[in-house]
């Protein structure tokens, strides 16, 4: 069923205003879109991270749905326990099945690095929950430290730019492919500018009788160093430069959801954010070429996986 803004806009937001997210935050846009997309009762959980901090400064909560916070690493297993309890209590006839959906939110630090084995276990055991990675490409909540999701060449406070080191030297992990390697029934990459694509994917994910994974790009004005009104524009640019391809994998079948025409050069992406400003200096030209090659190689591999001609 196609998502219509004229219909969903009349529902109350699952996430109330008054949260303390930075001005122009991408995460809260995505959290709102996800909760608006699900047409059933939702139980949510967050690992330690930006979304958790900004929505729950005691004694306030921004959540209008049942929500639990647990440590950096174990949001997936915490919510898996809630999901298991729910299933068991229904089986024992103690509660009725209200079609509750379970959604876990983790940042890229919690997903790519700290919580990886917990998420892996939850997918392995086939829990019926959606895990969403709110990917702002660094540990933004603690002050912009490098994570496994930080792209090559980016400045962070732990990959500072100097005469010797030009930002992060390593490429990021392909966590979505790692999740697909678990033989997960549904995995996808989304970005907030493509709200209909995002909401449709969330609806597909929660309809599945098993685990699902969504990796959402969250532009971050503070950590990426750009003006607060450009959050959605940057989300779009990420898709157009192919640094953030939008695709889904259903039972091992890869499907491309957006193909830019023309594909924009990586320099457009670097010019848009302060974290890449140093790459535009003449002495770093070789790095720009190197990163463009990496992006091209990953894009070609994705086209092959999606069985789309290059």
């Amino acid at each position: 069923m196609a998502v219509k803004l004229t219909e969903i806009c009349n529902q109350e937001d699952g996430l109330a205003p008054g949260h303390r997210a930075c001005i122009g935050c991408g995460e809260t846009i995505i959290a709102r879109q996800i909760l608006q997309a699900i047409d059933s009762p939702v139980v949510a959980a967050s690992s330690t991270g930006c979304l958790e901090i900004v929505t729950s400064p005691y004694p306030f909560t921004s959540w209008r749905i049942p929500w639990i916070h647990n440590a950096f690493e174990n949001v997936a297993t915490t919510l898996a326990a809630a999901e298991t309890a729910y299933r068991v209590l229904i089986k024992q006839g103690k509660i009725e099945d209200r079609g509750i959906k379970f959604v876990a939110f983790g940042g890229d630090g919690a997903t790519y690095d700290i919580g990886l084995q917990f998420i892996s276990g939850v997918i392995d055991r086939g829990h019926r929950l959606l895990y969403v990675c709110l990917n702002n490409e660094a540990y933004m909540n603690t002050g912009i430290q490098r994570s496994g999701a930080t792209p090559m060449g980016a400045w962070t406070t732990t990959t500072p730019v100097g005469r010797v080191v030009p930002g992060k030297r390593e490429n990021r992990k392909d966590i979505t492919a790692i999740m697909v390697a678990h033989d997960i029934p549904y995995a996808a990459q989304v970005a907030p500018h493509a709200w209909r694509d995002l909401m449709t994917k969330v609806q597909k994910a929660v309809a599945i009788d098993g685990p699902s994974f969504i990796n959402a790009l969250c532009p971050c004005p503070r950590g990426w160093r750009y003006d607060t009104d450009k959050t959605i524009a940057l989300s779009k640019l990420a898709a157009e430069t192919c640094v953030w391809p939008l695709y889904e994998v259903i039972d091992g079948e890869w499907k491309l959801n957006f193909r830019p025409s023309p594909k924009r050069p990586i320099t457009d992406w670097f010019q848009s954010q302060g974290r890449f400003a140093h790459l535009l200096r003449p002495e770093n030209k070789h790095l720009v070429d190197e990163i463009q090659e990496v992006v091209d190689r990953e894009w070609e591999r994705l086209l092959e996986r999606c069985k789309v001609a290059g």
């Binding site: 219909e7 949260h19 995460e27 929505t55 009104d229």
Partner: protein
């Protein structure tokens, strides 16, 4: 301040969405102004607002929640009809006092 005997077990917060009492509109340095004549109610501002500050009634944009709008300017940037413009918050406040 409540004592430990009065707070809920485990520090549970029992009131859903209680953060509405915290007015993040105080953070704003520029204010969105909606031109209702230009607005076509496409609701793009609503779906892209990080703070849920676009007020909607019966699928129509009816205003902006200035108690919570932080003034990021995404709505003005993304509006296809340029129906929202950002103005300086101090000037908007001074204008309101006239």
């Amino acid at each position: 301040m409540k004592s430990w005997k009065e707070i809920t077990w485990g520090g549970l917060v029992m009131e859903p969405g209680s953060s509405v009492a915290y007015e993040t509109g105080d953070w704003r340095s520029s204010r969105p102004i909606l031109d209702e004549e230009k607005c076509s109610n496409c609701l793009v501002c609503w779906v892209f607002c990080p703070d849920g500050a676009i007020q909607v009634e019966n699928s129509k944009v009816v205003g902006i929640d200035l108690k919570h709008c932080k003034g990021c300017g995404i709505c003005a940037e993304e509006c296809p009809r340029k129906a929202i413009t950002m103005v300086d918050e101090c000037e908007a406040k001074a204008e309101a006092l006239k």
